[in-house]
Structure formats: C-alpha cells, structure tokens
Amino acid sequence: MSSVPQPRGITMRRSLALVWRTLRSMRTALVLLLLLALASIAGSLVPQAANSPEAVAAMARDHPLRAELYARLGLFDVYGSWWFTLIYTLLLLSLAACLLPRTRALVRNLRTRPQPAREVDGFRHHAAVPVGASPAEAVAAARRLLRRRRFRLSAPDGGAALAADKGLAREAGSLLFHWSFFLLLVGVAWGKGTGFTGFAVIVEGQAWTEAHANYDGNLREGTFFGEDHTGIRIRVRDFEDRYLPDGQPTDFVTRADLLSPDGTLLERVDIRVNQPAEVGGLRVYQYGYGWAPVLEVRRDGQLLAQAPIPFQQDPPPRGVSPLSLPWRGALKLPSLSPQLGVELDLWPDARGLVGLLAGRPIPMTEARDPVLLFRVYRGDLHAERVQRSADLDTRDMRQIAAGALGLGRTVDLETGEEVEPDAPGLTMTFAGLRRYTVLQVSRDRGLGLVLGAAILMLVGLLPALFSSRRRLFLRADPAPGGAVVRVGGFALQHADRFEEEFRRLVEELGRAGGPIRESAGVGAG
C-alpha cells in the first residue's frame, strides 16, 4: 500500500535553522551594519545626557514637547538605550553565526591538500608548455618551483599531475579581523562593566582619598563593579596653567604626591593633559581646574569657619572665552540661627571686572588684585536638600547686604561694610586665593584586551583585502622531445592580477622543464 507523504510542518528545529541561516547571511550583516550607523548618527544629532547635560536641560526648557518625545524614545541616551544594545547584540550574534562555520571550513581546508584535476584545459587561464624533461621530471621541477613560490601542493604520488593553491591568507586574515572585532566588543563590555570613572576635586595643599564617598556623586561605576576602590591618596602640591598673551592655553599641570592607603609615598608626579599618572591599576588624568578662595568667618573675633571653597563656572556662551568670565561660589552657615548664606562672584584679576564693565573683556589668566562681589541672605537655607555647592536656594531667604571684598580684607556680613580684621559682629575675611584641580580617576581592566584586539584587527585586515585565493592544476604528458606540460588555473579574487601572475608562472615552468631535446628521427613540429 503506498503511503501518503506527510506535509512538512513548521517545527521548532526548522524555525531555528532558518533564523540561524538568516543571521549568518551577508545581507543581514549589511543591514545590521547600516542600522548601527543610523543609530549612531541619531546620538550625534540629539544632545546626549552623558556628554552635555546642559544641552539636554536647555532642550527640556525650550522645547518641552519635543524633549518629552525624545525622552520616551530613549534619544537622550542613545548608546545606552535598549534598541542600540539590541542592534549591536544582533550584530555580534550574526558575526558569531558567520564565523563559526567559516573557521571550521578554513581549518578543514588547511588540513587537506589540494587535489589534482583530470582536465586542465577548461580553466579560465590555461596553457601548454613543451619541455625537454620526462613527464615525471617536469612535474618534480614544477613542484620545486611552486614550493619556492610558497604554494600548497598536492601529495607527491610520483604521478604526472599536480595541484597547487595559494592565498588562504585571505580567508585567514578576514577571520582574524572578524574574531578580533568580536573580542574587542567583549573587551569593551567587560572593561567598562567592571571598572569605574570618577572626578576628584582637590584644592592645592589638600589630600584626597580614592573612595566611593569622596567623588561627591561624580562617579560612574560599571554594572559588575566590585566595590573595590583602592584607598590610594592624592596630595596636590600645586596646580599651574600657562597661557599665551591672547589667552590661548599652552599647558595645564598638577604636581602631586601619590600615597598608599597607609601613607607611604609611592611617587611624585606631574599630571598633564596627554600625560596621565598610573598607580595601583588606576589612571589619573588632568581634567579641569578652578579657583578656590579661602574664606574665614568670625563672630566677635572668634573663628567660626575657615575653608577654601571651590568655585564653579558655567559653560560660556559661544564665542566668549571662559577666561574673561567670573567664578561663582556660595558660603553656607547653617549652624547660625537664623541661617545665613552668601552668594559670591570671584574676579581673579580686577582688570577683568573693569574690562567687562567697559565692554572689553580680557582673559584673566592669573590672580591680580582679586575681588569678590557678594550678596548676603538670611533665612532658611534648605541645607538638608542636596544641591550644587555653588548655588544658593534663596526661595525662603531675604537679601540683607551686598558689597565687594578685596584679598586680605574683611567685611561685616550684616551690613556689607568693610571693617577691621578683628571687629566685633559677624565678619567674613577673604583670607587667600588658591587653585583647585579636577582629576579624572578611572579603572578599566579591559584596556589590554581591547588594544590587543584592535591591533589584531589591523593585522588581519591587510591580507583580507589584498590577498586572493588562487589555484593551479598541472598535467605532464609524454611528447616528442620530452613532455608537454598543461597548466590551468584561476583566481577567486583580483582576477586581473592573476592573469599577469599566471603568464609569468607558465614562462618559469617552461624554463624549469628544460629545453626540448631534438629527437634523432623525424622532428616533431
């Protein structure tokens, strides 16, 4: 009884095989590559929260509807968004899906020797060369010649046929490139995942300990970070910046001592842009700097508080040099009752203030008769709410005094008038002006892997693009005067280059086989 053929159904296995085949195809890789490019472009056109938070805030302020839409689509953090992650995960999968079978195929190819062909005249390039040696000798000579040219040869079986190939470096290079790219992506994920990057604000003369709490929130730890900050201490001796007369910077350098957690001096370093310090697996970079006026607060001559306060500067408008703008800071006195807060603007160089008022701003590259403009507020500081240290929340405060304060001078905080240093009442003294440096401290254990993978990518790229797989087939048959060697071959890539190479090889094969011997009898044509 004949059986009715069963219809082929959709099985899990068949679906998976289809998905795998699709992932493996070049077309998929093309599409994913272009999608990745498009996604990256999106991230460069929309301000990103990680790189320019002020621009994001500005957009939320000026175009709230658009900002809402962008936020929903994840456009303010493109490179961390789920769809970006999806695209490059798919690309990684596609890469692996393609690489595994091709690597297996290459290993197989490397293990097997080329097989001779029966007919050589059918190949794209073919020629027949008469030589004087016997067929076996001609084949042996050809074998020697081709081995010198670094061809892979078929097994020597004493016969009159030979196969050779060359250029597996192309596939090997391509696989090396793609595997290295894969490794690079893995290295990036691992290094960033187990590492951290943070910013340390250190005033000249102070020391800073590398610990989670000391970054003041300016810290990004990877998802798999293991809470192992080092405890290494950085003591800043001095910060120096140098400029040309027109305000263009020529150098930024932090001179620091690096100390181990127990206080022993590890190293004295100069940290410059382009010249970071490395210690204990950490890298310390020169990132920024600023001014830190030293302020003293006294009540009736008794010192209440004394500290250098790092001042901030907002990003300047386009076309304005930040060197011509003042620095902002705030002094908060929450222990007084009622609480007092002082908003301060620092002009490191008095000429800068004069210049700005006259409409001709000048770059303030050094401290010269620095002046502090201040406004004193009384009320509720809301100090329990975390806010940027340079800002004062004056919603529930009332301004009670304002004025200007030069270096070394003292003012009465309740009247704003300048007074003697030891005057009674609540006074503030501009005791000194120091610099502070902002250092970027980071650890990334994947750096070596990423760099190695990048170099291997380059190494693999060259043969992948410029080498080509070429195959040669050779037969020697007896003929009057010696033998006739028939050669055929083709190149899988760079066909035009192979034409030249084939011609040269044929010439050399002819020469290697020796000149034709004249036969004693009737000569052949």
Partner: protein, 312 residues
Amino acid sequence: MTTIGWSGVSTTAFSIALFAYLAAMLGYFHHLAFRRRAVVLAASAVAWAGLLAHLVSVVARGLAAGRVPWGNMYEYSSLLSLLTVAGYLGYVELRHGLRQVGGFVLMFAVVTMAIAVELLYVGPAPLVPALNSYWLKIHVVAAIVGSSLFALGGVLTILYLVQEARERRAAVAPPPIMGGAVDVEAPPDHAGSPDEPVGGGTGRRGVLPPTAALDRLAYRTIAFAFPIWTFAVIAGAIWAQRAWGRYWGWDPKETWSFVTWTIFAGYLHARSTVGWKGRRAAVLALVGFVSLLVTYYVVNLWIVGLHSYAGV
C-alpha cells in the same frame, strides 16, 4: 626666515597651487569635450606644477608654526587636498591613465582649498595643550591620508554612477542608424591610452572611462583607504585614552568617524553579496563619501564636542 616670512611663502605658494589646479581642471574638462591631446598633457603638467607649489606651501606652513602643519582645519584641508591630487596624479593618471577623471578630482581639491582659505584661515600659532602630543602626528596623518583616498574613491564612484546610468540608457536606446560599426577594441591611431575608448560618431558615449574600469579603481582606492581609516580611528582611541581618560566616549567626531567606517565596511561587504554588487554598492560608497564630508566639515563647525578647538 621668521615666522612671518615663512607664512608669507606658505600663503603665496597656496594661491599658486590653487590657481594652477583651477587652470589644470579647465584643461581636463576641455579635453573631455574636445579630445585634444596637447591640452590634456598641458593640463597634467600644470597640475604637477601646482602639486609642487602646494607641497612648498604645506612645508612652509610647518616652518612658520614651528610644528607639523596639521593642527587646525585650514591646515587639514590643505594637506587633504594635496594628498587627493597626489593620489590622482600618481595612481589614477600615471598607473592607469584615466585622464577623464582629472577634472573632477581637481574640482574637489579646488573647492576644498577655496573653503579653507576663505572660511577657515587662521595664522600659524602653537597648538593648544590637548593637541600637543606625538599622537597628533600619527592619528591626524592617518585620518587625512584615509580621507583623501576616500575622497578620491568618492569622485570615482560618482563618475561610475553617472557612466553606469548612461550605459543603461544606451543599452535600451535603439541602435544608431549609420554606416559602419565603431570597433572599440581596435586601437585607434590617435587615442592616448588603452582605456580611452574611441569617440567616433556615436556622440557622447565614450567620454568617461567604461564602468568596469571606474568600478575597479574605486574599489581599489577604497579598499586601500579602509585599513588606513581603521588605523586612524584606533590611533584616535589610543590618544583619547591618554588625553581624556577614555578610549571611546561617543563624542560627535568619534561617532561620525565610526559611522563612516561602518558605511565603507558595508560597501566592502556589499561587493561580495549577490544582488548588491555594482550600482547598490556604489551608492553605499557615495553615502560613505557624504558621511566623510559630514565628519570633516559639519562635526567641526556645527556640532560642539571635545573635538572642537578654539579658533577652529
């Protein structure tokens, strides 16, 4: 000689080069239309002379500033156009004889240099601290060389697309009614190189090189540029690690150079993909060329990031 002296030499030589390229460009276009061999040879000679003047300009600029002459957009543009013209003269013209392409390459160089001198010029000055590293020599040189080769490939790709469209139209057009056939294989007695097909009576067919030659040359140029660009991106990442503490931060310049890399990687893949060879791959190369221009001009001038320098 003083800084001002060398700077004067540099700007004078720059102007000489610019006008030489302009004159040579006109000569090449004249040759496209009227096929006068004397004109194209003269144009080639003038282009070589312009290249020499351009080289003098770049070297003098370096002497004026006391550093390598690629520290701002004006200098990059100058070096980029120099390398593109050199690539054309040395490779496309000398080795392959495709003189029809000359006018277009020189047009790219002239436009780049005109933009540089009109909009981007700054006097020679020392580098800002962030740029003062030997990585500048390595990363930026690789980027400029890669860019110039991509630009050359871009010009060739545009010409390929034009010629391919023309050949497609000619293939469907009715055959011209005329006596005798034009045999493009037989060497004519007046043509210069084997790649110049006979003009004959078929009108505009044969003005540009055949699509196969353009496609092959565009591929070779782009394939040569790709590893150099890869190296430039990697060197940039290494420099970024030393200067900014992270090798990749999705800064707009980093992002767009990666986008350009990805698109050209797509082009190289497309040439091995059935159904994507030929025209579709060329369109990808064109998109890559546009991406290169964005990476160079738009990112530096419009999008603000770590890569923007005071004084451009």
